[in-house]
């Protein structure tokens, strides 16, 4: 039994708004081992990004972590003073953001932004930091890194900028990285290059990684384990291949079916009916109840977590392997 690099237990991050308390992250538990990638999947607003920000202690007002535990190599992060968290951020744990057009400061050269990331953690001479920055760029497949270091962000393409951001995240050889939909803003060919690059770096450096995405096809080839998030809770997790092949939660099954590509041309794409519920109004009941084809009276209570073969599922009516395979007709029709 290996000790996970990152383990989250019952994390709760709530936002205290005027309209009420929004439970953006509600009791989630996860763990990632060294060199492994966990795909955190969910729709917009399901709390994936807030989970990422919570790990690095970057949740802004009016949000606050109200409970649970986040351990990095056994060390508790929640409740650490800001100065200690600052040393961990970018050092032992770093983050890649969604939109590469926005994550680099437009008025600073790439070298400035890379060197400062190194020197925030280690007192190394400028020259040495510059060399490490150059090697970092070369590692993510940027040609002629010396010249690129002199550039300003607007002189690079979106894909280039995201490579720079990835290089920055890996600069200090972190134990753990959160990647918050880093390929969403890129076109498909660049996307696959970036995915391959990130996967390679992760394996080589034995970095544990959480890859946040709404796109199941992205994690399919990338992740070792998958956690599906819905309305602030994890509804299913387990080994990537098993979850994708035979989803047990009706929501996961719906997500898989709505990926284009498994359908014939001209056929209507599957759609999960309804919309994500408002996080303000969530009670004990299963948050997916209103949209689920299998719901009954039992679903008004908090669903139990059933464990089976290294997989967990939060549902009263988990799908069996055989039902999942032919459950296309079983899900509620999307009209009207």
């Amino acid at each position: 039994m290996t000790n996970p690099v990152l383990s989250i237990d019952n994390l709760q991050t709530h936002f205290f708004t005027r309209a009420g308390v929004v439970k953006a992250v509600d009791n989630i538990s996860l763990s990632v081992n060294a060199g492994e990638i966990l795909g955190l999947v969910g729709e917009s607003g399901s709390g994936k990004s807030i989970t990422g920000f919570s790990i690095l202690g970057l949740v802004d007002e009016p949000g606050r972590i109200v409970g649970g535990s986040i351990k990095l190599s056994g060390e508790e992060l929640i409740g650490k003073p800001e100065a200690a968290l600052r040393r961990i951020r970018g050092g032992r744990a770093s983050m890649i953001f969604q939109d590469p057009m926005m994550t680099l400061n437009p008025v600073l050269r790439i070298e400035t932004q890379m060197i400062e990331a190194i020197r925030a953690h280690e007192k190394v001479p400028r020259r040495e930091a510059w060399q490490r920055a150059r090697d970092g760029l070369a590692q993510v497949g940027i040609p002629s890194p010396e010249e690129r270091l002199k550039c300003y962000p607007h002189e690079l393409s979106g894909g280039m900028r995201q490579r720079v951001a990835i290089a920055i995240a890996f600069l200090n050889r972190p134990e753990f990285i959160v990647a918050d939909e880093p390929t969403t803003a890129l076109d498909v060919t660049i996307q696959s290059q970036i995915l391959a690059e990130a996967q390679k770096l992760c394996r080589e450096n034995r970095t544990a990684m959480i890859w946040i995405t709404h796109d199941l096809s992205v994690v399919a080839g990338l992740a070792d384990t998958i956690a599906v998030m819905y309305a602030g809770r994890i509804v299913e997790n387990g080994p990537a291949e098993a979850v994708l092949r035979s989803p047990r939660h009706p929501y996961t099954s719906g997500l898989i079916k709505s990926v284009p590509g498994e359908h014939l041309v001209g056929q209507r794409l599957f759609q999960i009916p309804g919309m994500t519920p408002s996080l303000l109004k969530l009670g004990e009941a299963c948050a997916f109840k209103e949209r689920c084809a299998y719901q009954d009276d039992a679903c008004s209570a908090a669903p139990p977590i059933s464990m089976e073969g290294g997989r967990a599922c939060r549902c009263f009516h988990p799908l069996r392997a055989d039902t999942a395979a032919q459950s296309g007709g079983a899900a509620k029709e999307s009209a009207p």
Partner: protein
Amino acid sequence: MLAFLIRRIGQSAVVVLLMATIVFFGVNLVGDPVHMLVSPEADQAEIARVIQQFGLDRPIVEQYWLFLKGAVQGNLGTSFIFGQPAVGLILERLPATMELAVCALVLAVFFGIPLGVYSGIKPKSRVSQVIMAASIFGFSLPTFWVGIMLIMFFSVQLQLLPSTGRGEVGSFLGIDSSLFTLDGLKHIILPATNLALLKMSMVIRLSRAGTREVMQQDYIKFARAKGLSFGRIVWAHLLKNIMIPVITVLGLEFGSLIAFSVVTESIFAWPGMGKLLIDSVLQLDRPVIVAYLMIVVFLFVAINLVVDVIYSLLDPRVSLTGAKS
């Protein structure tokens, strides 16, 4: 860069010429300076002599032509009152006004930016609310009143600082300025503060708005995710971004500080250009008014050029090489 400069200088020449025309005709349509120049008892012959002496008997178009011809040679006419070249009269007083304007600008920047950034970072704190309230006063209290209050308090009540004049002028590296003597410094504190308050309020507002906007940006969050210290984030990532609008406004304001510090100069009897302008207007000394306005136009054009160059230094996305988007 060179092409940009040449193009800009060409544009500026057009602006200056247009302004010269407007100013010249505008000023020559107001009042009759002859009656200010001759004694009330003068007879017709005396008046005619004065009119001829100043060339006021010629057609206005011819006067304009003579004015332009002189202007390109750096001669903007001779003062009716002093009988000296108008440009010389103004430039003599320029250093006094400049040092006042520069001091006011420095005060506005050095207090305004930190206060604005602070209240932008902590918009809800008590201190920020005090800063914002104070900046509203800075905007709305009339300059002359604040000037009088400053004199009342610091000169009359506390007797700390002198209320009028420029004080002793020192010389350093060939420049004469009251900034080089203790007495001169004492004299400049009150008028510079008076002049700075309004600009400071503006800088506070601008840098606060800029800070609030920039702090929301992803690159600030990314900088935090890199583990940078808060100081580094503010110094390297925030300041350079908020300086762009601040510089624009300050450039224009610096021009107006030099050109229109009339009120402050009058209250503190500061021997600068503003006081000369007021006197000239009252005495209808046309050449001095025209020359003054032309110098102001020239200053504005020059400052705008400098602001554009500073832009390109601050924001790498701004290119001066001529690409128009």
